[in-house]
């Protein structure tokens, strides 16, 4: 491809202002000495100029207000969701802490009750205490889980109605 052909391919981009500084310089130098390319560049200029001046279609104020309202509702919903998640994490952490902390208390109290009935310590009694504690904890977690699921279902239903 000759230098002339290469420059000719750049003329549309030159009118679009899409050339590098080096390419622009190259085009400017060539156009000074080439009438054909100079005319071709002149033909591109009004097209580029009119494209820059095309009227901008504007969205209606109703559309902007509706978009803002929907986006704000989404933002609020997200903030609420984040807050719920943080609360849930804190509640679960607290529940575990309480479970771990209650073990020695539970063991101590049940041990005392146990010792009233059976003064001698036995591995069987320890095992029973542990099973009771595990059952008590599992029941607590199950109740908490069911409550959380019911709350989530209710919240989803309310959102749907809203």
């Amino acid at each position: 491809m000759s230098e002339h052909d290469k420059i000719r391919e750049l003329l549309a981009l030159a009118a679009a202002g899409a050339l590098t500084a080096a390419e622009e310089k190259q085009v400017a130098e060539h156009v000074r000495s080439c009438v054909s390319c100079s005319n071709e560049l002149d033909a591109w200029r009004p097209i580029a100029s009119e494209l820059r001046r095309l009227p901008t279609p504007q969205p209606s104020s109703w559309l902007v207000q509706a978009t803002l309202a929907r986006a704000e509702a989404k933002l609020t919903e997200q903030a609420e969701h984040d807050w719920n998640r943080r609360v849930m994490i804190a509640v679960v952490a607290f529940a575990w802490l309480l479970t771990i902390a209650s073990w020695p208390v539970f063991h101590s109290v049940s041990g005392r009750f146990g010792s009233l009935l059976e003064p001698q310590f036995s591995p069987t009694q320890f095992g029973q205490t542990w099973i009771s504690f595990a059952a008590f904890t599992a029941l607590g977690w199950l109740a908490g889980g069911v409550a959380a699921v019911m709350l989530a279902i209710r919240q989803r239903g309310e959102r749907r109605l809203a």
């Binding site: 549309a12 009004p46 580029a48 279609p57 969205p59 978009t67």
Partner: protein
């Protein structure tokens, strides 16, 4: 306040920042979507979807990046998904029906001095709008981003997710097709 500051505030959940961003970008975004899908009702729906997507994804937005490019990329992805679903042929074929609708803003006189100048300029714009509407979606897109949004080639490359060289060749081809369409539609007119 600049867009970057509004973006930082929006990331913290500031509702006012959202309102300011929508106000700032409403015309450019709507125009871009309208040029892409060419149907006002579809552009309006995509406009809403784009802002909902912004709210959804704003936390994953890298603040060191260009917000304009990110916003237009979200809009572009939604528009392309929409076109792929509704009119898959429009992604690579020129549309048979050209879109052109005049708004109140279109009728506001610009810098032209005489009524004749104004009438001629309006006519040229109508011609160019109609010719542009007949181009394939990818060509309309690159033309609107370059000339109407005045994006740099690098920014267009970011939005369209293609290399700079591809943007340049797409821009050149779109201008050539536009000129060809103008010359074919209006033989002997001002475009030759």
């Amino acid at each position: 306040m600049d867009a970057d500051a509004d973006v930082v505030r929006l990331r913290r959940g500031d509702l006012n920042a959202l309102s300011e961003l929508i106000t700032r970008y409403q015309n450019r975004l709507y125009r871009y979507l309208l040029r892409m899908v060419q149907q006002p009702a579809e552009a309006e729906d995509l406009f809403q979807q784009t802002w909902l997507r912004v709210v959804e994804k704003i936390r994953s937005f890298d603040a060191s990046r260009n917000f304009d490019a990110w916003l237009f990329t979200l809009a572009r992805n939604l528009a392309i998904d929409h076109l792929r679903r509704i009119r898959p042929q429009s992604l690579d074929e020129p549309l048979a029906n050209s879109w052109h609708s005049e708004t109140v803003a279109d009728r506001i006189p610009c810098k032209d001095h005489t009524p004749l100048d104004h009438a001629l300029a309006a006519e040229r714009r109508t011609e160019i709008s109609e010719a542009m509407a007949g181009l394939p979606m990818m060509y309309r897109e690159v033309l609107t981003l370059r000339f109407e949004d005045e994006m740099k080639i690098e920014e267009i490359a970011q939005v369209t997710a293609v290399p700079v060289s591809t943007v340049k060749s797409r821009l050149r081809r779109s201008l050539e097709q536009l000129r060809y369409a103008l010359e074919a539609r209006y033989p002997g007119g001002t475009w030759q």
